[in-house]
């Protein structure tokens, strides 16, 4: 006899719908431990006539005969010990203040595993500016990886330019010229040491064979590629490529050998020159690699060009999230404070900012500050800003920000088994966006149980609940009783576990429209508008 074990209603339903999966069974087993106060209410019902092994086996072979509830198939399942049930889809929990709605949500959170509980947001408690900062930081954090990738090419350039010291190069050239001229002046006063040929000898230039190495790597890639082998072989003879690779490699070896010899000799020449210099009063001509010096001057110039074009304002990243747009844009820093927050270091950037116009000098200023980590300097050249825009292209307001966060949280709920949302409307200030939330909540309820607590008419009535729960606090002969009435939205009355019932119409009016009176006056208001 085979069946698949699941541990939540959500997974049960998913397994029922998926043809490739075994018949699911929601086992009620539990690991007993200290501190265990409630037993889980997991169970599965089998539609078998008699209780025999062969009957059970037949049931487990047929998904149609297994369900989460006794009489309502898989649309309802039991949630509490007292028999209270709820829908495996969208449940709406209504009720006046202090009727135990939050208590009920807390209880569900206790009893089930894998619950995503989105508690009531409250803007009132928080400092608006701090909340906005926090919000922006969170958005930034989630997307910082993208920015790192965007700036990685720049970072590589910066790492290279950090090694360019133009001042030092200038000094080297000056030393070369002055020593050369001096030596020429004293040409007639040479002694045995300064007459040695190696005394003024220059070093061998040693070049990196990067181009050749890259070429060999590319040829190798073509030879070794498996995915596109067929296509490659149609145009290129792999054997010839191998011969090419071998010839290139042999060339690389001889070049490497040459370089090694030169490095070896440069060391020897330097030793001899120094020993001779110590013995003579003659001036030795300083050596300078003019190729390297001019290369580095070009690098610094090109670096500045790159930074200046990076600083031009533009959008570098856009992401649509449920009707909102997260936009990252780049531009130049204008205040020292901005640079400081980008770096996170406790140092003043006022001095560095003065050099901001000349990227190379700005870099030197940054490098001279010991408080800064070199590997992080790439963040301090270009300012990256994040904005969240609503569908009209304006920056989000406080209420919209909460809604955005709510949407993110709800999206995250897909990783859980049950979703609880406590009064989502308390953070909205825009009518239109609410319908987006409804849509998302409904979508999620198709794959897992959702419970939404709400007062709001738009959310409550139009969200399209599969099941209604009504929390009520009743005082009977001095005793306070909390009850939950439940039923389908189409039922005329909702029933509690202990047999009481209440008319649905009353509930809807009381909770959602704050009383019949208000509803009547609003209805007149609507009619007045309609007449126009």
């Amino acid at each position: 006899m085979t069946a698949g074990e699941v541990d939540s209603a959500k997974k049960f339903i998913r397994a029922i719908k998926d043809e490739t999966k075994l018949t699911p069974v929601l086992f009620s087993d539990v690991r007993v431990s200290d501190g265990l106060c409630r037993l889980p209410t997991r169970q599965s019902f089998l539609d078998c006539g008699e209780l025999t092994f062969s009957a059970i086996r037949a049931c487990l072979d047929d998904k149609g005969k297994v369900s989460l509830s006794e009489d309502e198939g898989n649309s309802l399942f039991q949630i509490f010990d007292d028999g209270q049930r709820m829908s495996t889809g969208l449940n709406v929990l209504l009720g006046d203040r202090s009727t135990g709605k939050t208590y009920t949500l807390d209880k569900i959170n206790d009893v089930c595993e894998g619950v995503k509980y989105i508690r009531q947001f409250s803007l009132v408690q928080r400092d608006e500016a701090a909340y906005e900062r926090e919000f922006k930081n969170e958005v930034q954090r989630k997307r910082s990886r993208f920015v790192d990738v965007y700036l990685s090419a720049f970072k590589a350039v910066l790492d290279d330019v950090m090694n360019v010291d133009l001042e030092s190069n200038k000094r080297d050239v000056e030393n070369y010229i002055s020593s050369l001229l001096k030596s020429a002046e004293e040409a007639d006063r040479r002694d045995a040491y300064s007459k040695v040929a190696l005394f003024d000898e220059t070093a061998f230039p040693v070049r990196d064979d990067k181009v050749l190495k890259d070429l060999i790597a590319s040829v190798r890639q073509v030879i070794e590629n498996i995915e596109y082998r067929e296509m490659i072989e149609r145009h290129v003879d792999i054997q010839s490529l191998k011969k090419l690779a071998c010839e290139l490699i042999e060339l690389l070896w001889s070049k490497a050998l040459e370089n090694r010899k030169r490095l070896f000799l440069n060391g020897l020449i330097k030793d001899i020159k120094e020993s001779l210099k110590m013995r003579t009063s003659a001036v030795q001509v300083d050596d300078v690699d003019l190729y390297r010096v001019s290369m580095e001057t070009r690098k610094a110039g090109r670096f500045s060009d790159i930074v200046n074009s990076l600083r031009k304002e533009s959008v570098i990243f856009e992401e649509s999230v449920q009707g909102f747009r997260v936009v990252a844009s780049k531009g130049a820093f204008t205040k020292a404070g901005e640079i400081k927050s980008a770096s996170g270091a406790k140092t003043s950037f006022k001095d560095a900012l003065k050099e901001y116009g000349d990227p190379y000098r700005y870099l030197q200023a940054l490098m001279s500050d010991d408080n800064l980590v070199r590997s992080e300097l790439y963040r301090l050249f270009v300012k990256i800003e994040y904005k969240i825009l609503n569908r009209y292209g304006f920056e989000v307001s406080g209420g919209e920000r909460s809604e955005f966060r709510l949407l993110q949280e709800i999206k995250d709920a897909q990783n859980y088994d049950v979703l609880l949302i406590d009064e989502p409307e308390s953070s909205f200030d825009n009518m239109f966006l609410k319908s987006d939330v409804n849509q998302i909540i409904r979508e999620i309820s198709e794959s897992m149980p959702v419970v939404v607590v709400t007062h709001n008419s738009t959310v409550g009535a139009s969200v399209g609940a599969d099941y209604l729960l009504y929390a009520s606090k009743e005082v009977e002969s001095g005793k306070v009783t909390y009850r939950i009435y439940s039923g389908y939205p189409t039922d005329k009355a909702l029933k509690s576990i202990d047999g009481q019932s209440i008319k649905s119409h009353e509930i809807m009016l009381n909770s959602l429209e704050a009383g019949r009176k208000t509803y009547e006056s609003r209805r007149r208001g609507y009619e007045a508008i309609e007449d126009r």
Partner: protein, 103 residues
């Protein structure tokens, strides 16, 4: 062949045309050819001896060069192998595959 010798109290080196020149005339190109010879041929040098070379400038130069070339001669193979380490595995594999497939 001999690359460095001491003669008439002066140091000498074998120049590129095969003649011996005073050691204070040596240039870096001459040194490069001496290195090539050391790596590719059987070479020998006259031992450095402070007493035998009277000229101080010659002393300094001969001593350094002699020390270095001798060291190079002793580690000849290592010096060459080091340069051939890059892509060695691929090289050998391709050579194999070429000869197997029949050039």
């Amino acid at each position: 062949m001999k690359l460095l010798k001491i003669d008439n109290n002066l140091g000498h080196f074998l120049d590129r045309s095969g003649k011996f020149q005073p050691i204070d005339r040596i240039t870096k190109e001459d040194l490069l050819s001496l290195v090539d010879l050391t790596l590719n041929e059987e070479v020998e040098f006259d031992q450095y001896d402070k007493e035998k070379i009277r000229n101080q400038a010659h002393q300094i130069v001969y001593r350094s060069i002699h020390e270095k070339l001798r060291g190079l001669r002793d580690r000849k193979q290592e010096f060459i192998d080091e340069s051939e380490r890059l892509y060695l595995a691929e090289y050998e594999r391709y050579k194999d595959e070429i000869s197997q497939q029949g050039a």
